[in-house]
């Protein structure tokens, strides 16, 4: 099904080229928009599909930007408007007028309305908060831990770092890898069952953007214990304070940063 978008893309390019040859900026504009849409949707052949929210954003930007482009020069803009004016006003274009203005456009509006309101069994799209703000302090098995400004105490003990990493690795494979994956890519055995899926640790855009104190809080408290400003927050992450000790959490944090090739975010 995705292959069809290659055809859409090529059709857009063809329309655009023909319009360019015929010096018709309006149809060039239409062709470009079709090509951009085909390109954005067709990307799914090579990478995971772009979310529809992003496709809508890019398309809106494309319409806005190319409309601007075709209205820079006076003669181009006049030529751009010519087919629209012609369909709306010329006496010999009555048929076009009827088909496009009085039938086509209302039908399109009706279809869009129908598509928006037709019953669907899909749960609504949720604008989830990805980085909830951490609380000032947490209660960890009855001990108050100040989260703000908290540093991994094991990092100072460089002599035993190798042991900590080895232990962290064991803890990871006993507790975390089922969801977060063997390769720390968020594709563990259970990953498919969750929405949102587990966080990948590889790449520079997840844990590399977070200080260790934040990761400690997320592991310790899981989906519970969020400050009021961050609710609701969908997650299946368990609260590991019931399973792991404070030291064990710090060890596994050392491991996930080391194994994913990332460094924790620091402010200084």
């Amino acid at each position: 099904m995705t292959e069809i978008y290659i055809g859409v893309f090529l059709l857009g390019i063809l329309i655009s080229l023909l319009a360019w040859y015929k010096r018709s900026p309006f149809f060039n504009f239409i062709g470009i928009q079709i090509a951009v849409y085909g390109f954005l949707k067709g990307l799914a052949l090579f990478i995971p599909p772009l979310p529809s929210q992003v496709v809508v954003m890019y398309m809106a930007m494309s319409v806005f930007a190319f409309f601007i482009y075709f209205s820079i020069r006076e003669e181009t803009f006049r030529a751009f408007l010519a087919p629209i004016k012609s369909v709306l006003a010329d006496r010999d274009k009555v048929l076009y007028r009827v088909v496009i203005v009085f039938i086509g456009l209302p039908l399109l509006a009706a279809y869009i309305t129908y598509a928006k309101v037709r019953p669907s069994f899909e749960p609504p799209v949720s604008a989830r908060i990805v980085h909830p703000e951490p609380p000032t302090e947490i209660d960890f098995r009855g001990k108050k831990i100040q989260i703000l400004g908290l540093e991994n105490p094991l990092r100072k003990d460089t002599d035993r770092m190798k042991d900590y990493l080895e232990e962290g690795k064991k803890i990871y494979y006993q507790n975390c890898f089922f969801c977060h994956g063997d390769d720390l890519d968020g594709k563990g055995h259970f990953a498919e069952a969750f929405n949102p899926p587990p966080l990948p640790f590889r790449g520079t855009d997840t844990i590399a953007q977070l200080p260790e104190s934040f990761v400690f809080w997320r592991i310790a408290k899981g989906w519970t214990g969020l400050p009021p400003g961050s609710r609701p927050w969908d997650s299946a992450m368990p609260a590991f304070e019931d399973i792991l000790t404070e030291d064990e959490i710090w060890k596994v944090i050392l491991f996930i940063y080391e194994a994913s090739g990332n460094k924790p975010r620091t402010w200084e």
Partner: protein
């Protein structure tokens, strides 16, 4: 506005302020007596829309006008100074026109201020009592300086023509006006600073040190951010005014003047907007330093989605300004030579915009989440600051090149090294873009702290240095250049003026949204960590609701601004008729 007797004009201004303030205090007294007592925890409720939305709308409208009347005088006096030193009548006229605008806008600013002054103590008596206890003396100082500001403003306006032989003294008056304005801004910023990053009080809100309560984490960065943003905003409103006058102008002379005024104002707005991100960054650093939790909530938590909206709007502003400059080539004799470069600039700005607005975390349906995961492998990489900083810097660079092209499009350099100069220009552009790109890619490979504190400032520094180098090079190269023809001011299609109006409307909407985010950072606190908001409104509204309110405020503001524009035109017409008689 006809120029009358200075004394009469100043008295009129002071009387107007006294009447508005007097009416405010009177209404406050009456409402305090006739309305039922506040609830036990210190609230009264505004009918239908609720207290929060009411105060939100009034405060934002007041702030918009205040930004205008504090921002415009800065460049009005700069224009007057330049006009005086260069003996350029046109600059003097534009400065006078700006002054006319902000003098008229003062009345609306004061009216909105008075409505806010009545609303807050009536609807939030406990909160205002607390503020008065901690910062009370600053309020009385505020009133005092407000009188000073109005006195100098009206004197400055009404003495414009009378003091034309004593321009130096008049410019000095303008400077004094700006000093007064800056003091007012510092006072109001101290209130917001105290509410968001309080200091100088105990945990229960007892005053320990008033100066500490004024001099909070946020005070100076917020004041700086507002000061520069006010200039950008004021210049934007002036550009919108010029655009409006251009569209309604009936003579070629008028069209030419307002075309030039719109161009000058828009360039001031965009020029100053270049330093806004840096000051905004400073403000963000101070918020993080005060409370990391608040910082994360503002930048990466609940409000992360609004930053995407901010990116969309800033990208739109860049597009509008480039569009305006590209379309301006039509009026430059010789401008057609440069149209071939426009398509490349367009592609750069378009790609920059696409990256700049790419969200890091997206709203996903269940099926999309299953197929993509938490982060899209490509979008996730484009949606972080390493790529966004790079994209926006390169877009700004393209915008500067559009500006440079416009300025030189009607000239031909005559210096012997012109050919080498052109190559040098290409070299500067290619090299600086290459360095910015390299640093952007390298940013992915270093810890965030290195990116934030080292690489991003270097990227920004390279950009500033390169535009400075280009500016100096072009000034040298085009010194004594052959002029192909003078710009045909006034010969602009009307759609170009809508781009100027678009810039200003977008600025205004952005100000409303960013102001809401800054205020929402306090969450359910009137004064963060000190005085809790226990009213039924103590929750963060959905982004959709916030957007609707900000849109409503923007619409109301422009209705009022349209009234100011109409008043200026009406008064000009009356003055014209009097002169004709």
């Amino acid at each position: 506005m006809a120029e009358k007797d200075i004394k009469k004009g100043v008295l009129k201004g002071l009387l107007k302020l006294t009447l508005i303030l007097g009416a405010g205090f009177l209404l406050l007294g009456i409402l305090g007596r006739i309305l039922p007592s506040p609830t036990e925890d210190g609230y009264r409720f505004f009918p239908v829309i609720g207290s929060r939305v009411w105060v939100w709308i009034v405060a934002q409208l007041h702030l918009n006008f205040a930004a205008f009347v504090l921002g415009v005088p800065i460049f009005a006096v700069t224009m007057e100074f330049l006009g005086w030193r260069r003996k350029d009548e046109r600059l003097d006229r534009i400065a006078y026109d700006f002054t006319k605008l902000f003098t008229l806008a003062y009345t609306l600013t004061a009216v909105m201020g008075a409505v806010l002054m009545v609303s807050l103590p009536i609807l939030y008596p406990k909160f205002i009592q607390h503020l008065m206890k901690v910062l009370g003396p600053t309020w009385w100082a505020y009133i005092l300086f407000m009188y000073g500001e109005v006195f100098v403003c009206y004197y400055y306006f009404y003495s414009w023509h009378r003091m034309k032989d004593r321009k130096g003294l008049h410019v000095l008056l303008g400077v004094l006006l700006n000093v007064m304005g800056t003091i007012l801004l510092l006072i109001t910023s101290s209130w917001v600073g105290y509410m968001t990053t309080p200091a100088g009080v105990t945990e229960t809100g007892e005053l320990v040190n008033r100066w500490q309560a004024i001099k909070t984490y946020m005070w100076i960065p917020l004041s700086l951010h507002r000061l520069v943003a006010n200039v950008v905003f004021g210049a934007g409103i002036a550009a919108a005014y010029a655009a409006f006058r251009f569209i309604t102008a009936t003579t070629p002379e008028e069209k030419a003047y307002y075309d030039w005024m719109g161009y000058t104002s828009a360039m001031i707005a965009i020029g100053f907007s270049l330093i806004l991100p840096g000051i905004g960054y400073l403000l963000g650093v101070e918020i993080y330093a005060f409370n990391e939790q608040m910082g994360i909530q503002l930048m990466g938590g609940f409000y992360a989605w609004l930053w995407v909206m901010q990116a969309i709007l800033i990208g739109a502003i860049l597009f509008f300004i480039n569009y305006y400059l590209w379309i301006s080539l039509n009026k430059m004799p010789g401008g057609e030579r440069y149209f071939r470069y426009v398509k490349f600039l367009f592609i750069v700005v378009l790609l920059g915009y696409a990256i700049w607005l790419t969200p890091h975390s997206v709203a996903l349906s269940l099926e999309e989440a299953r197929r993509i995961g938490s982060y899209h492998p490509v979008l996730g990489k484009l949606g972080v600051m390493a790529s966004k900083n790079t994209a926006v810097i390169i877009s700004y660079m393209a915008t500067f090149i559009s500006f440079a092209i416009f300025r030189m499009s009607n000239k031909e350099p005559t210096v012997s090294w012109a050919s080498m100069g052109k190559w040098l220009r290409v070299l500067i552009i290619v090299a600086s873009t290459g360095v910015v790109l390299f640093l952007g890619v390298y940013s992915y490979m270093v810890p965030s702290v290195t990116r934030v504190k080292v690489l991003s400032p270097i990227q920004f520094g390279v950009f500033l240095l390169s535009i400075l180098a280009l500016y100096i090079l072009d000034s040298r190269m085009f010194k004594g250049a052959r002029v192909i023809g003078e710009p045909r001011w006034g010969q602009m299609p009307e759609r170009s003026q809508y781009a100027l109006i678009g810039i200003t409307v977008t600025f205004t909407w952005l100000m409303g949204m960013m102001g809401y985010m800054r205020s929402g950072g306090r969450q359910y606190w009137h004064v963060y960590g000190i005085l809790k908001d226990t009213s039924p409104d103590a929750y963060l509204p959905a982004h959709g609701v916030a957007s609707v309110i900000v849109t409503l405020v923007t619409l109301l503001f422009f209705l009022m601004v349209a009234f100011v524009f109409w008043s200026v035109m009406k008064l000009e017409m009356i003055a014209e008729q009097r002169r004709a008689k």
